[in-house]
């Protein structure tokens, strides 16, 4: 006791800097102590939550599997299924349990196909979860809207596309992407109708994802892509050019040739690549005639096209550009000449080498 009093006394008589240092140290010590206690509480709370979650998840997994294998032959709900539905319906009202139920359904839904997958989709509706997903679409937060749309996609909920289409020009890219994926996942080519009214840009990643989903779909009825080739949205035109290549859309030949005069260079380069892929030889003469007016990128794209569709009659055109000022173009021209006539090419090569060393 006396020792403590002595310490306090000596602190009182020490310099203000030492007093301040002691004061600050005490404050920091108390803060650290409080933080340690809070972290301990938080860790325990999270662990407890995890345990509860795992327990519920185990229960719901068991309910789900029992539900899936206790159905009647005639597609009606058996008494056992009805009991499970009633039990789960009670849990759905609680947001914490609802989240676990949805994640359990998705955990299985994403791994299986066929009748069982369809049963899970039906259960999603039967439990009233559709109402909650649709409510998410009316939320003010963009991430909640995106989650809502994704849930509808994963459980293949058709018939709500009109509500989802309201987000077609949503300011957040993630929401737009989920909306597009919903439409294409569920309606395949018909779902691409959103391209008619899309004002925002489709990123390269969005385009890749849409193409991937389309290819997963077994729908062979390909939409008429021609209207999208005339879109005022350049990204829609570029995406449609990719569709033309992947699905060999020869029917759109006229529209594709028209696009050679599009205002965007990116579109023009892509259309040359599509024309090359589709082997549309008519485009070759058009491009040959105005080769010099075209940008470097277009010239390269055209020469790449020529590599596949060259003829003997192209020789004068190629010879005209054998001394082009751009090395890359010269290289392409030489390559094509080599393919047309190897012996003649040897002569051009000697001539070119002389020029280069002169």
């Amino acid at each position: 006791m006396n020792e403590n009093l002595y310490l306090l006394e000596s602190l009182k008589h020490s310099s203000p800097i030492i007093q301040l240092a002691w004061g600050l140290s005490s404050i920091f010590f108390i803060i650290i102590l409080m933080l340690i206690m809070y972290l301990k509480y938080l860790r325990n709370h999270l662990r407890e939550n995890e345990k509860i979650k795992a327990k519920y998840q185990e229960d719901y997994e068991s309910y789900l599997v029992t539900y899936l294998y206790s159905g009647n032959e005639d597609d009606t709900f058996s008494s056992e299924q009805q009991l499970i539905i009633n039990e789960l319906k009670k849990c759905v009202a609680d947001p914490f349990k609802r989240k676990i139920i949805i994640s359990t359904l998705l955990k299985l839904r994403n791994e299986i196909s066929g009748e069982i997958a369809e049963s899970i989709d039906k259960l999603f509706i039967k439990l009233g979860l559709l109402r909650y997903s649709l409510a998410k679409l009316r939320n003010e937060k963009w991430d909640i809207i995106a989650i809502g749309i994704r849930e509808l996609t994963q459980f293949k909920i058709k018939g709500v596309h009109k509500i989802i289409m309201n987000n077609i020009n949503h300011p957040k890219r993630e929401v737009r992407k989920e909306m597009q994926l919903y439409l294409v996942h569920l309606y395949a080519f018909k779902g691409l109708d959103f391209l008619n009214v899309l004002e925002t840009s489709l990123s390269e990643w969005d385009q890749i994802q849409l193409l991937e989903v389309l290819q997963l779909n077994n729908d062979t009825e390909i939409a008429d892509i021609r209207p999208w080739l005339k879109s005022s949205n350049d990204s829609v035109v570029i995406f449609t050019l990719k569709l033309a290549k992947v699905y060999n859309q020869f029917e759109a030949k006229e529209e594709l040739i028209e696009l050679l005069n599009h205002k965007s260079e990116d579109v023009r380069v892509n259309v040359i690549s599509a024309l090359s892929h589709l082997n549309i030889v008519e485009a070759k003469n058009i491009l040959k005639n105005n080769f010099n007016e075209r940008s470097h990128e277009e010239q390269i794209a055209f020469l790449k096209m020529m590599e596949n569709v060259y003829e003997n009659s192209d020789k004068p055109f190629l010879l005209e550009h054998i001394h082009h000022k751009k090395f890359e173009i010269k290289l392409f021209v030489m390559g094509i000449l080599k393919n047309i006539n190897f012996e003649e090419y040897a002569l051009y090569e000697v001539e070119l080498k002389k020029m280069l060393t002169a």
């Binding site: 599997v65 294998y69 359990t104 955990k107 299985l108 994403n110 196909s113 066929g114 009748e115």
Partner: protein, 122 residues
Amino acid sequence: MNNTKKIVLAEDNSVLSLLLKFRLEKEGYKLLIAVDGKQAIELIEEHNPELILTDIMMPFVSGLEVISHVRNKLNTQTPIVVFSSAGQEEIVLKAFDLGATDFMSKPFSPHELVIRVKRLLI
């Protein structure tokens, strides 16, 4: 003598494991479930099953390592069916190189799996 055929299922998705266990046990097989490759190897060594069903991507020890262990260390020709997901085509090829018998791409139909299992265990 117990003639029930044993199947080791290595799958980290608990609900899928449960579903397949339910389905295959209904068909008269005995299912031994492993949540990762390490457990799968232990079960295979202990029970010497007639068939192995394994996911490719699993924690600790992958499906590829399970196949390699069965074919190269245990030197057994137990049929192995591999579960893969979209985009894992290269790994599936590796699995076949290591000695996998068949593969199923997720999402798959449990009904189709039962048909394949029956065919392999005739």
